[in-house]
Symmetry: C2
C-alpha cells in the first residue's frame, strides 16, 4: 500500500485530535549489486532503522535521543543525517513547524547496508507524513524526497550517491539511470528471488572504499561491465535466474574493494558453491550479499558464508529476505 495513501486515510479517520507524533521504519539496502556500481540498489525486509518524530510549535530540528548507536552518532542535528535531511526539507517547504527526533538505530554503522540511508529515509518519511497530516499542502510526493535523502548521503559519506537512498525510499530494485538530471527507474524482480546479506564484524570506511578506486579504467573492462548491467536488468525483467546470475559480475570495483574484506574470496566461493546466483560486496562493504532463486538456497548460502568468516574467527550476522517492495512504513 503506498505510503502517501496511508497518510491521507489517517487524516480522515483520526482528525485533529491526533498526537503529533509518528514512528517510521526504513529498510536496509544493498547498493551496487555487483555490476551496477553507483547505479543500482535494492531494499530488503530487515534490518532497518526507526525514527520517532514529534512535530513541535518551535521551528528547528532537535535530536533528543539516539538508541542503539553505542554513542557513536552526534546529537547535533547539523551533523547527523537524520537531522540535516529534515532540516533541509522543512526549510524548503517553509513549514511553520519544527521536529523532535528519537532515532532507533537497529542496524550496524559502516556495514555497507545503507545504514545512513535508512536513518535519513525514515526521518524524511516521518516528517513528510507529519506534514501530510498537519500542513497537507506542503507534503511532497515520495520521490520528491529523494534529493533531500541524497544530501544526507553527502554528509554521511562524502558523496550524494542515490543507490542506497533510492531503494530505501521507493522500495524494490532501483536503477539510477542518471544523476544529472536525476532519473530513477523501478525494475521488477522475480517473486521468488531472495537476498542473503552477511555483516562481518570488521570495519571499512566508505570514504576509504571510495578513495582506493582507480579514476581511469580500461574501455575493455567498461564494455564487460555495461554488458552486465544491461544483462542484469534484462534478467530481472524476464525472471531469468540464470541470466541474473551470469550478469552479476563486477570486473572493475570488486577486484579492488574486496581486498578490504578479509576472507571475501572464500565467502563468495562458499556462497556460489551453496547455489547462489551471484555474490558481491554490499555497497562499499564489509557486508557481502548474494541473490538466490528461493528461500531454502538463500538460507544455505547464509550458513556457508558465515562458516567462511567463522574460519577466520570473524563474527557475523546473516539476514535472508525477499526484495522489500514497500520501502518505508509507518509503525505507529
Amino acid at each position: 500500500m503506498p505510503f502517501q495513501h496511508d497518510a491521507a486515510q489517517s487524516i480522515k479517520q483520526k482528525g485533529p485530535t491526533l498526537d503529533k507524533k509518528i514512528r517510521v521504519f526504513a529498510p536496509a539496502t544493498v547498493a551496487n549489486v555487483a555490476c551496477g556500481f553507483d547505479i543500482m540498489g535494492f531494499a530488503i525486509e530487515h534490518p532497518g532503522d526507526e525514527v520517532e518524530m514529534t512535530l513541535t510549535e518551535r521551528k528547528g530540528v532537535v535530536i533528543s535521543k539516539i538508541i542503539g548507536d553505542e554513542g557513536k552518532l552526534p546529537l547535533d542535528a547539523d551533523k547527523n543525517t537524520v537531522g540535516i535531511v529534515v532540516k533541509y526539507l522543512l526549510e524548503k517547504v517553509r513549514s511553520k513547524y519544527g521536529v523532535k527526533i528519537t532515532l532507533y538505530k537497529q542496524m550496524p554503522l559502516g556495514s555497507g547496508l545503507g545504514s545512513s540511508a535508512a536513518s535519513a529515509v525514515a526521518s524524511l518519511c516521518a516528517a513528510n507524513e507529519l506534514l501530510a497530516r498537519y500542513e497537507p499542502e506542503k507534503a511532497l510526493r515520495r520521490e520528491e524526497l529523494l534529493p533531500f535523502a541524497m544530501e544526507g548521503e553527502r554528509l554521511a559519506c562524502g558523496s550524494a550517491h542515490a543507490d542506497n537512498v533510492a531503494p530505501a525510499l521507493m522500495g524494490g530494485f532501483v536503477l539510477i539511470r542518471s544523476y544529472d538530471p536525476l532519473d530513477v527507474v523501478r525494475i521488477p524482480t522475480p517473486e521468488a528471488l531472495r537476498a542473503t546479506v552477511i555483516h562481518p564484524h570488521v570495519e571499512v570506511q566508505t570514504r576509504d572504499a571510495r578513495s582506493i578506486l582507480r579514476k581511469q579504467i580500461s574501455l575493455k573492462d567498461a564494455i564487460v561491465q555495461w554488458g552486465n548491467t544491461a544483462g542484469l536488468v534484462a534478467g530481472l525483467w524476464q525472471c531469468d535466474f540464470d541470466l541474473i546470475g551470469r550478469s552479476m559480475q563486477d570486473v572493475i570495483i570488486e577486484p579492488i574493494r574486496s581486498i578490504l574484506i578479509p576472507g571475501f574470496d572464500a565467502v563468495k566461493a562458499n556462497a556460489m558453491y551453496a547455489g547462489a546466483l551471484g555474490c558481491g560486496i554490499s555497497g562499499s562493504g564489509p557486508s557481502v550479499f548474494a541473490l538466490s532463486r528461493n528461500q531454502e538456497i538463500a538460507e544455505e548460502v547464509g550458513r556457508k558464508m558465515q562458516n567462511a568468516f567463522g574460519a577466520l574467527n570473524i563474527d557475523s550476522e546473516v539476514y535472508v529476505s525477499p526484495i522489500n517492495r514497500q520501502g518505508p512504513r509507518i509503525i505507529e
Copy 2:
C-alpha cells in the same frame, strides 16, 4: 516463422528432386545503439544482402559472381566474408559437399550498416539450409551459426564483434551480455518503434573508427554509460519511449567518432528537433540512425537528417523501418 522450421517443411514438400540451390536475404543492422558500444544491435527490414548458393559435389567454396559491389570485393573465398564463413562451417560439420556462391550486394560497403555481417549471415543461413535439406544431421541451430559469422567479422574489420552479426542472424534487438563466454539475449521492443537510418556518401573505415578510440576512460564516464545501457534495456522492456530516449546517450564513443562524420552535430540536432527519441552513429559510421515512436515521426526525422547532410552537399539515402524481428529469410 522460424527459419529452421521452413527448412523442415521444404524437405517434406519437395523431396530429393529439389534443385540444390537457394537464395537467402539477411538484413542490415544498427550496432552500438548509442550507449551500447560493442554490446547492442538491432536488425532493420531493409536494405540487406542476398546470397544465392548451390550445393556442389566437389568440396570447397567458390564465389562465382558478385553483383553490386562495383568490383571492390575479392572473389577469392578465403578473402571474402561470404566465402570464409561457409568454409569454416562446412569444415566444422565435415560436410561432404562444397558450395558455389553468387553474392548480390544490395547495400553500400563501409556504411556502418553491417554490410559484411549481412553478407556473412545470408551465406551461413543459405549453407545451413542446404545442409538441413541434404545432410540434415549436420545442420546447426540458428544461434550456433553465430561464432562462424563472428569469424567473418574478424576478416572484414579486424575484430570478431557480434553486435552486427547477432541481430542480423537472430533478428530483433540483441544484447551481447558477454563475449567470453558468448552470451546473447533478445530484448523485446515496442511494436510502434521505428528506426531511421541515413547513409551519407562519405567514407569511414571501421579500422580507423576503432583505432581512434581511447583505451582508457574515466570511471565517471563509464558509470554514466552503464546507467544508460541498463536504462535502455529497461525502457525497451517496459515500452517506455521517454526512457528509451533518455538512455540513448553515448558519452564515450560518439564524442570521438562523430568527428569523422561531417555534419554529424547538425544531423543529430535536426533528428531530435523532428521528434526522434534519440540519435547516434550506426556502428562505426558514417551512417547515422535515430529511433522514433512512430512511422510518421521517423519519416520526418529522415527528411530533416537528409536536409542537414544536403546543406553540406553530401548525398545520402534514408531508410525507415520497424525493428526486423525475423532476421534472415529464404527468398527462393
